[in-house]
Amino acid sequence: MLTNNLYNLCGLLLFGMGLFALFACSHLLRKILAVNIMSSGVFLVLIATAYRPLGAGEIDPVPHAMVLTGIVVSVSVTALALILACRVQETSNHSLSQSERNTNDGDSEE
């Protein structure tokens, strides 16, 4: 049971980390990364709950199927979000992009 708890804890911490970064970061790409980290945490919790060590019973395949579905959905959602982020940057007016540039983390241009 220790392994399950360890990985559960890891998943929940990943979820919390991603949630905080989602609020704290201003760059859109970083927000998308944060959502991906969050979803990885949720998947880890699901799979860790289903895990049984070798010889200690069957592994529950239902969470596996759910996570498999979730991974593919999260990739497609990421793709859509990235296109939307590009669109936001294209159409956002100057003042917005100016303030974003001062606060975001893309410091490589300075």
């Binding site: 708890n5 929940l12 709950t49 019973g57 498999l68 579905t69």
Partner: protein, 248 residues
């Protein structure tokens, strides 16, 4: 360097709202961890149920059985979500191919020639393997999508002239076949998403192969980032027009 560090310090002042968010996030995580430990240890989930109905599902792999037979709703809706994502991307932009043709390096071309057919083969194998071992429509579709990404990164000249109609048919074939089989159950007097017992194995394999093709095409067109050049809808506003409108 000095300027950078000064900016960094200025950029992260003590923000009370951020601190509040931090505290709330930590609180939520702590609550979740506490709730997680109240899950009874002895619960064994649905493994026994799945194992009991496994022989009737038509496939040997439990995950594939759950995905396509026992919980077919999830998969059907998920395939639809993929379709909706592509519709969303296509309605936003055209595929951003570069204006003039670039010359692909011979090394890259050789790699693509070697890898792309191999990846298609691996995808087909994974789909076929899905009925008894790890694998299935999603893994096969992901590999197919990877092959599409490889082709798109190499910027082969024929990719930009791909017509939208065959692409649309390819995107639709999996979801439509799946939906058709699901509705066939109703027509034959059973429930939605039930398969005739004798045929379920081959039907599931057919659904998996069509869905893998559709998923692969979906992922590749998501990477292309827009609809093909000859799409039915006319040209939308370019970013330059938008910007000029805002100026005026």
């Amino acid at each position: 360097m000095i300027i950078k560090s000064r900016r960094k310090n200025k950029r992260r002042p003590f923000d009370p709202i951020l601190l509040l968010v931090l505290l709330l996030t930590i609180g939520l995580t702590a609550l979740l961890i506490k709730a997680n430990y109240t899950i009874p240890v002895t619960s064994f989930g649905l493994a026994a149920e799945v194992a009991r109905f496994q022989p009737r599902s038509g496939v040997e792999s439990p995950v594939t059985a759950v995905l396509l037979n026992f919980r077919g709703y999830d998969t059907l809706l998920e395939v639809m979500i993929l379709l909706i994502a592509v519709i969303g991307v296509w309605s936003l932009t055209k595929a951003p191919f570069p204006q003039k043709a670039v010359k692909t390096s011979p090394v890259q071309l050789a790699v693509v020639r070697l890898l792309a057919p191999l990846m298609c083969l691996v995808a087909a194998y994974l789909v076929w393997q899905g009925s008894h071992l790890a694998g299935g429509a999603f893994q096969g579709g992901a590999i197919l999508g990877g092959a599409g990404v490889l082709l798109l990164v190499a910027e082969l000249p024929w990719l930009r002239t791909i017509h939208s109609r065959p692409l649309r048919i390819g995107l639709l074939i999996g979801p439509l076949f799946f939906l058709g089989v699901a509705l066939l159950g109703i027509i034959n007097g059973r429930e939605l998403l039930t398969y005739p017992g004798k045929w379920s194995g081959s039907l599931l394999l057919l659904i998996e192969s069509t869905c893998a093709v559709s998923i692969g095409l979906t992922l590749a067109s998501l990477f292309a980032g827009g609809r093909p050049a000859d799409d039915l809808i006319g040209q939308t506003k370019t970013p330059a027009c938008n910007r000029e409108q805002k100026r005026c």
